[in-house]
């Protein structure tokens, strides 16, 4: 017999049963109204599983989980109801923390209002907006959002998210590329303009050099004439000497101007031969002596006792040393001291020439620029002598053509300057060099009288040279063009024909060829006088039948030497 149940227990049991019944009824009711679409099923082993009624949707769900776009369902209130794996990855937040959160919290503050406006309008069809999305760690990325109202749900919208990072980067790269190409094209255009300007400048300098040089030959000749027949009075002699110095300075300047243009364009060819650098220094010192003495400088010379044999162009290297000496003389106040040394550098097989002065010196910031074309230090206060600022440029380039170096050093303004020239010594220093200092001063009347014809369209040049030669007792005819010269040659057969190349109408080469074609004129010595002295110019002269090629302005002493050897 079971004891009578306690009324309290009965009541609680009754309540529990009622609660369970209610739950069961509400489950049945929910099923009937299709308010549920999944069930938890219990396996015999105790494992539980979820059975989803809409099983046919699974493939699509899988695709949505795997696709490369972010996807979400946003509830009418703006909260995230569902996110796919990709969106969770993009936002670097686990789905669990995203679910229930407002999606607008993931939109950067600047774009939040725009997104919410769009969302609230509950668009009928697709609508899209580009925004910046913020990841859980605070970093952000550009994204395109597509909103679509979901079928049969009140205010619920599906959201597709496309990460635009790559796209933006590509667009940027493309833009960058386009801009870079445009910049390069613009730079190329500027470079072309500069190149053209540079070429024009070179052409202008070359032309200027020729134009300046042409009048120098007759002036030089005229001065020689005055030296021979002019007044012996002291004032006249001093004036002639002054004119001579100024003229030589002018010639040097024009030569530098022409040379720097040629060097720049690679048109200078070195006449390399083995020589003793000490002779070059001596020659340069002789040439600079006038300028140095004029300014009352003293020169201290220290020379190696044995030869400093190098392979080089004597004329060009003399030009370099002369430029350095003139520079020292120019930029040192009167009564200064110029120290010159030429020695072998024991550390390397090379020769060292040092030219040091106690002049105005070089400011440290100018040191690197003194070799630049047209640069002159301290134009405002230190303009002692002026100049074009081409001497050092030319000197350095010529030295570099000899595989040497030329450097400047100075402790600063007023501290003097030192230029150091280094040249490789010749490897076979066996034989003692020949002294090249040919005696250029040929005195009057030391050669027999000759028949000479001068042809030059520069009438002053032709006339002055003719006059000068006549002063030395020669029988001279002159002509200003090729045709006249050929006509003259029928009656006057000269021993020597000095022929300008750049003649109007028939040029010097053509005249030479015609002369060479006539047997009766075979013994004439043909000498070209040309404004150009490159290897090619010389070869062309030889091919046309010339025996020698002189570059204008020709020093009269050279012509005298030629006459002596004819």
């Amino acid at each position: 017999m079971a004891p009578a149940p306690n009324p309290e227990d009965l009541k609680s049991e009754n309540d529990e049963l009622r609660r369970r019944l209610e739950e069961a009824e509400s489950i049945v009711s929910a099923i009937r109204k299709h308010e549920v679409d999944a069930f938890v099923v219990q396996h015999p082993e105790g494992e539980s599983d979820v059975l989803v009624l809409d099983g046919e949707e699974r493939p699509y769900r899988l695709m949505i989980e795997r696709m490369q776009q972010g996807a979400a369902v946003i509830g009418a209130e703006g909260s995230i109801v569902y996110v796919n794996g990709r969106l969770s990855e993009m936002l670097e937040a686990p789905a669990a923390t995203l679910l229930g959160a407002r999606f607008s919290k993931c939109v950067a503050a600047a774009h939040r209002d725009g997104f919410e406006d769009l969302f609230r309008r509950v668009p009928r069809g697709d609508s899209e907006i580009e925004v910046t999305l913020v990841r859980a760690n605070g970093t952000d990325f550009p994204a395109l959002l597509n909103l679509t109202p979901m079928f049969n749900t009140d205010g619920v919208q599906s959201l597709m998210v496309t990460d635009l990072t790559q796209q933006k980067r590509h667009a940027q790269e493309r833009e960058h590329l386009v801009r870079e190409q445009a910049a390069r094209a613009a730079a190329e255009q500027v470079a072309e303009v500069l190149r053209t300007a540079d070429r024009r400048k070179d052409e202008f300098l070359a032309m200027l050099g020729h134009e300046l040089r042409n009048p120098l030959a007759p002036m030089r000749n005229a001065l020689q004439i005055l030296n021979l027949i002019g007044s012996r009075e002291l004032a006249a002699r001093q004036t002639r000497e002054m004119m001579g110095r100024q003229l030589e300075g002018l010639i040097r300047l024009v030569d530098d101007l022409l040379d720097v243009g040629r060097v720049t364009q690679g048109k200078i060819e070195l006449q390399a031969e083995r020589t003793d650098l000490r002779h070059i220094v001596t020659r340069a010192l002789e040439s600079a002596r006038t300028t140095i003495d004029e300014r009352g400088h003293t020169v201290e010379l220290r020379m190696a006792e044995s030869p400093l044999l190098i392979e080089g162009d004597i004329v060009r290297l003399t030009q370099v040393v002369l430029n350095l000496l003139n520079n020292a003389a120019k930029f040192t106040p009167p009564g200064g001291r110029i120290q010159v040394s030429a020695e072998a550098d024991d550390a390397a097989p090379r020769a060292l020439i040092r030219i040091r002065d106690n002049g105005i010196g070089i400011e440290p910031d100018m040191l690197g620029r003194v070799f630049d074309l047209f640069t002159q230090a301290d134009r405002s206060t230190g303009r002692v002598e002026g100049g074009l600022g081409i001497g050092l440029t030319l000197a350095r380039r010529l030295v570099e053509m000899h595989d040497g170096t030329l450097d400047a050093a100075s402790a600063g303004a007023g501290q003097g300057s030192e230029f150091t020239l280094r040249l490789p010594l010749s490897e076979h220093a066996i034989e003692a060099p020949q002294a090249h200092a040919a005696d250029s001063a040929v005195s009057k009347g030391s050669v027999p009288a000759m028949r000479i014809m001068v042809v030059d369209d520069n009438q002053d040049a032709a006339a002055s040279l003719t006059m000068l030669l006549r002063l030395f007792g020669h029988d001279v005819r002159e002509a200003y063009d090729g045709q006249t010269a050929l006509t003259l040659l029928r009656d006057f057969v000269p021993d020597l024909l000095l022929l300008d190349i750049g003649l109007p109408g028939m040029n010097g080469y053509e005249v030479a060829r015609q002369v060479r074609a006539v047997p009766a004129l075979r013994n004439i010595r043909l000498v070209a006088l040309s404004g150009y002295g490159s290897e090619e110019d010389r070869r062309t002269s030889v091919a046309a039948g010339f025996d020698a090629h002189f570059v204008k302005p020709v020093e009269f002493s050279s012509i005298q030497s030629l006459i002596a050897s004819t």
């Binding site: 929910a30 549920v36 938890v40 539980s48 509830g75 229930g100 205010g155 619920v156």
Partner: protein, 102 residues
Amino acid sequence: MNTMPVDDTQEIWELRLYTAGQTPKSIAAFNNLTRICEQYLAGRYRIEVIDLLQNPKLARDEQIVAIPTLIRNLPEPIRKIIGDLSDTERALVGLQLRRADG
């Protein structure tokens, strides 16, 4: 119709919604729940979504059978509402946000 909320305390409501991934009814339930909460419990409710597709074991504690199911943990007593909450009246009664008429 009595629209006076039954609950007039400032207590935080703790609600737990059991879903099966993103089945239409799960989504609908969540959507309906947030709408109701915003309307009646703005600022003082917390919804925890438990996806039983991800973790079916969690169904056992609360003896969940049909999905979606909403559990009101707080305020007590615990209430269980089955379905997608599309019948707002029934949902409100179930949550005891409104007295059942009759």
